[in-house]
């Protein structure tokens, strides 16, 4: 029916499904070497990662970023000293290139000072959603160019770390509203900030209440259950899902403990070691974000969230006004897939029971 589709040559142009079962190659052909080739290519190209931290001021977002990437990304703002609280929500992005063992990572951190700080916080998520969608839009525009670049610069937000204040009770309405909207467009990892103000039991009750809240409101945080590919992933991710939200403490000052130099917060009653699993769950967060699931975060952003945005954008194109509005991105939707429709794009063809929410 599509006039563009040429009729293929006499034989089927789509290769037929394999009739032979997977055959073991005897001896080595060298297919394995393609893994090394991939590695070399990846190392040459470098990696990109964009992370956004969202939360009220004073929850230790900048410090957390510095701790995560062990470098001074931001000047950690000391509360109450000279820096006036912004009247409106402003997003600030900083890009750095960090290198470790030959692997170059271009890291972009977006901070959201002023979030939730006003008296009336209605629609305070709009700028953030707008920013995220703007990045998708930028990528989309690059992708549909006729002569496009070999490597489209990826500024899409791969992960959004949401800082929940350690009230010890449950999620606040602002949190719930924000999480509901955000988890549809980006991978959200909620964390309990400043967890050194909670005892271990308080932490556990807080955590279970938050998990209950998340379930009640159908908020699907990363790692999403419907994207588990196989049984190993499921086991691994279930362990992570049990501990979400992580109770983290950020610190960028080093102290001497038992002769070792550790990152920690020094208080009169002791030193909270950031990297000690008994003290806080920062190592879990770091492992999730960087050591084990970074590529997965990027993949889900690219294959699911970006595709959802693209579908929505291309479908609605005849509704939105034309003209400068396209390129200006001004009327870019601040509240895209509010309908459950586009969310159904799943990575693998899973049974629909997983897709609900």
């Amino acid at each position: 029916m599509d006039p563009l589709r040429q009729s293929p040559s006499p034989c089927s142009s789509r290769p037929s499904s394999p009739r032979t079962p997977p055959c073991e190659t005897l001896g080595d052909v060298g297919i394995e070497a393609v893994l090394d080739q991939l590695k070399i290519k990846a190392m040459k190209m470098g990696f990109e990662f964009n992370i956004m931290v969202v939360g009220q001021s004073g929850l230790g977002k900048s410090t957390m970023v510095n701790t995560l990437f062990k470098s001074k990304m931001w000047k950690s703002t000391l509360p109450g000293l000279g820096v006036p609280t912004p009247q409106t929500l402003q997003l600030q992005s900083v890009t750095h290139v960090i290198e470790e063992k030959g692997v170059k990572l271009k890291l972009t951190v977006t901070d959201t000072p002023g979030f939730g700080d006003q008296i009336n916080n209605d629609k305070c998520w709009d700028p953030i959603l707008g920013y995220i969608n703007e990045q998708y839009e930028r990528y989309l525009q690059e992708e549909i160019l006729i002569t496009r670049q070999r490597h489209i610069p990826d500024t899409r937000v791969h992960c959004c770390v949401y800082f929940v204040p350690p009230t010890g009770h449950c999620l606040r309405p602002l949190d719930i509203e924000f999480l509901q909207r955000l988890c549809r467009v980006v991978n959200v990892v909620p964390v309990i900030a400043r967890a050194d103000s909670l005892t271990l039991e308080e932490r556990e009750t807080f955590r279970s209440r938050i998990q209950h809240n998340l379930r009640t409101h159908c908020i699907d945080v990363y790692p999403q259950k419907c994207f588990d590919e196989d049984i190993n992933d499921r086991i691994l991710n279930s362990k992570i899902r049990d501990r979400i939200p992580f109770a983290v403490v950020g610190a960028d000052q080093e102290h001497l403990v038992n002769g070792r130099c550790v990152l920690g917060r020094k208080t009169k009653w002791g030193i909270v070691e950031v990297e000690n699993m008994a003290h806080c769950e920062f190592p879990l967060l770091r492992d999730l974000l960087i050591r084990s699931h970074l590529q997965d975060l990027k993949d889900i952003t690219h294959n699911v969230h970006y595709e959802n945005y693209r579908v929505y954008r291309l479908n609605e194109s005849h509704v939105l006004p034309r003209g400068p509005g396209w390129v200006n991105l001004a009327p870019a939707p601040t509240d895209p897939p509010a309908t459950p429709g586009p969310w159904k794009v799943c990575r693998r063809a899973h049974d629909s029971s997983d897709e609900e929410c």
Binding site: S9, T20, T88, Q90, R148, S292, R310, H318
Partner: protein
């Protein structure tokens, strides 16, 4: 949106920030590789060459398995492409290999159009990918990529130069696919002839402007080996799936009365080099070139053909959306038209059927009437006959009674005489 104020410190001069400790993202390449392994790789090879040059045997030798398929005859009316997909597994790496072979290439008397099916096939794969990419709901990451990544062009071992068919075909293919020319069945050429042959081939290719695939030399780890290999193009290869015992090892070889040619011996042929280059060193680069160069070129040409002009950046995304819309309207219009057509056809058919049925009914009626008439005629005839028969019977009866009457009268008069006479006659 007035509340948003994005301050960005970005640009080519991004600060490189020193790390104060081990962060852990050096596992990134491993994460990437693990993901790719779980997804599997796919690689598509196109073998172009005349019938009988050993394409299937070479594939078998390269991948160390016996791919099914029977050899083609020389009587094909035109060039066709035969494609088959195999799942190969080596330790934990799965490869979906598609091998496409030309069937009947070079067998016809008039070979002017021999290259066309090949070019059409390659374009069809690009088209399929482009269609998938342009779809609104697409699944690119699970899409089975069928674009040809490498084209092995088999040159017949004449020892002189390239045939004009080869030149023409390669010229048509060089902008669409990575061409790796190889000299097939090279055990038919001696070493000195081989060097001359290779030089001749390369000079002919250069003078005709054919762009064959050059192994990449920009990355230090492979620059050296690729550089030397580039000098050995085209590779002189021999394919064999028979294993013979040489020394104390089983090796793939071809046995002749005057000696044995070992496939994996670098002094005998360039098979090992081909395998190295094609699979072990440059598979990823071949795939990347296909995607970023050949496919992009095709896409650009196709989109420009569809009506997008490279005027100014504003109009590009603009008109793509416009075309989407226009296409959608067109599509809907077409759908409606088709629906109308179908409906009309349906109505027409119904009418026809009705007319037919009416005809049949009429015929039946006629037949019935005819039969009835026939029946009546027969009946009338029968009745006539019966009547005449009755008449005859009546007449006969009358005559009989008349005769009897006469007889009885007669017998009364001389009846006794006749009776006596009768008696006498009887006696």
């Amino acid at each position: 949106m007035a509340a948003t104020d994005i301050a960005r410190q970005v640009g080519e001069g991004c600060r490189t920030v020193p790390l104060a400790g081990h962060v852990g993202f050096d596992s990134l390449p491993d994460q990437l590789v693990n993901k790719s392994v779980s997804q599997g790789f796919c690689f598509n090879i196109l073998c172009v060459g005349e019938t009988g040059l050993g394409k299937s045997t070479l594939m078998d030798t390269l991948f160390n398995t016996k791919f099914e398929g029977e050899p083609a005859t020389h009587t094909q009316p035109g060039v066709q492409l035969r494609s088959s997909t195999y799942d190969l597994q080596e330790s934990n790496v799965g490869l979906k290999l598609t091998i496409v072979s030309t069937v009947g290439f070079g067998d016809q008397i008039n070979k002017e159009d021999s290259y066309k099916p090949i070019v059409e096939f390659i374009d069809a794969q690009f088209e399929a990918y482009l269609q998938e990419e342009l779809k609104i709901r697409r699944v690119l990451h699970t899409y089975h990529d069928s674009r040809i990544h490498a084209c092995l062009y088999f040159i017949a071992p004449t020892g002189h130069s390239l045939k004009s068919l080869d030149l023409v075909t390669m010229k048509k293919l060089d902008s669409k696919v990575n061409i790796i020319p190889i000299i097939a069945k090279s055990d038919a050429i001696s070493k000195s002839e081989l060097t001359k042959f290779k030089i001749k081939i390369t000079s002919e290719l250069v003078s005709n402007g054919v762009q064959i695939y050059q192994f990449p030399t920009d990355d230090e780890s492979v620059a050296e080996i690729n550089g030397t290999m580039n000098a050995h193009l085209p590779f002189a290869v021999i394919g064999s799936t028979e294993e013979l015992k040489i020394g104390n090892k089983m090796m793939k070889a071809r046995q002749y009365p005057w000696g044995t040619v070992q496939v994996e011996n670098e002094a005998h042929c360039d098979f090992v080099k081909l395998r190295e280059m094609l699979i072990r060193v440059n598979m990823e680069d071949l795939r990347e070139q296909t995607h970023s160069r050949h496919y992009e070129l095709y896409r650009r040409c196709k989109l420009e053909e569809m009506g997008f002009k490279d005027t100014d950046p504003d109009s590009k995304p603009f008109s793509l959306q416009e075309t989407y819309e226009a296409k959608r309207n067109e599509f809907l219009g077409e759908l409606q038209k088709k629906e109308e057509e179908m409906r009309q056809m349906f109505v027409q058919r119904v009418k026809e059927k009705e007319a037919e049925l009416k005809e049949a009914e009429k015929e039946l009626h006629e037949k019935f009437d005819r039969l009835k008439k026939l029946h009546q005629d027969e009946k009338k005839k029968l009745e006539d006959k019966k009547k005449s028969l009755d008449d005859e019977v009546n007449a006969f009866k009358q005559r009989k009674t008349a005769a009897e009457l006469l007889q009885s009268q007669g017998s009364q008069a001389g009846g006794s005489q006749t009776l006596k006479r009768d008696k006498e006659k009887k006696n």
